[in-house]
Amino acid sequence: MDNVKVYKCRSIVRGRGEGEAVVSKDAMCFYLTDPKTGTVIERNHAIQGKSIAGKVLVVQSGKGSSVVQVDGFYQLWVKNNLPSAIILGEAEPVIVSSAVIVGETMVDRLEADPFEVIEDGDYVEVDADAQEVRVWKGGKAAK
């Protein structure tokens, strides 16, 4: 029995990405990640110490000044350590701009609350082109 759940979403930056989920209820400034590993280095952050590289990142929103966010995305991009896709709780102009310029797949307006239906360790496919998010609870191996 396939345990995949499918949710409609809205595409912000087109593309597809999949991987293990990392969930951050805190807004993020990507400048405060280590570009070499994708590890979040902001003190007292919800996902401090976790890597977002290659993961599907579920994040509340963006924060920080109007320029450092862009550089945060850029540095992760050139080192191939961006998340494979981002699911936003709430869109905000600076994080959207940053995702557009590096072509990072991004969606929002999931039909269910993403913080309810996705948790760390789930396997997630984000298909922005089909405006769909697919979630395997507990990872794809549990299928």
Partner: protein, 405 residues
Amino acid sequence: MFLTDEEKSILDGERGAGYQKAMELIYALGLTFDAEKLIPIKRAHVALSGQEGDTYWCELLVNGGAVCAVPPTTNPYWDTAYLTKFFDVTREELELAERTGDAYRRIGAKLTYHCAPGLGTNVPFFGEHVAFSESSATPYVNGALGARSNRESSVSALAAAVIGKTPLYGYHLDECRRGDFLIDVDADMPECYDWGILGHCVGKIAGSRNPVLRFKNTPRPGQEDFLYFGAEAATSGAVAMYHMVGVTPEAPTLEAAFGGRKIPSAECVITNKELKAEEDSLTPATGEINLVMLGCPHYTYNQLLEVERLFAGRRVNGGTAFWILAEAGAVELAERSHLRQRLELLGVRMVGDTCIDEPCWKSFEGSLGVTDSPKCAYYRERRGQPFAIRRLSVCVEAAVKGRLD
């Protein structure tokens, strides 16, 4: 979202890759925030930083043939000609600075290298639609001047300057500019420093909501006061619009500040006690200092004069450096009036075009610095220098002694 035929043709690449990239970003933002259409702008400000991500984007546009329809003013990076006389930087750091200046020159930016455009270098009118990035500039033009800008990123502001348009959403619309909640303020606000601390308190409470401040005694804030307030409210929170009842242009009355909606009861009261507690929580460090750094946001000419007055002829301690980052026009005026030369005799140096968050300052890292700006402390700490935050008069006393007690 409605696009004109001309806008569609730019999006389809008919004017080349540079304009197409800029339009793609504007279009993506418009779709994301449900803009009905694009509107023309005649003014933009780009938070150029000299960071790779930002320079990459400017080069991508200009190498694709784009030139700005509206020449935007720009944020500072660092004065390479002057500061390399004092500090060592790597070849890579210098090259990135040169690449940045070159790209922005070619795209047709107005290279003001100043982070507070609303004070003089790029001042929008009341009600004017603009695209301003720089987190401290956006609340200034929205709140203090009543112009209309979203919280643009450096890249979206540059795209808007290239196209000469921005999507119609957010703070361009009346309903998004109204107050969301009320704060009562019953505090003395003697200096811009105090406005900064107030902004820091307000930002933490506000998040991205629009605060309405009601003062017990209506103040008359000046340029620097508004600037410090907004800079800190946008650092501790994401405030891009605010009202001060009886002070700011869209809040002649409490009713107007809330745009005719129901006026909520005050969420909190901020008094001298709260401001003191906030200041104390920000500034515990004391001890030997190797640097006093002022000018985040950039100092004005009046602030330079105030520094001289507070020194009263005394000199900076031999083990301490004293740097003021100021608007280039203020530095030029200081040179003409010999204020710059008088301050240099006291050991105070000033530089235009330069931000606190640049590689030239790295030789001070590892020791304690003092600043009058929480925003300065926040960014420098990330680069490895702890900062104590004190009002200007205390910064000057610390510079004379070489230590902060």
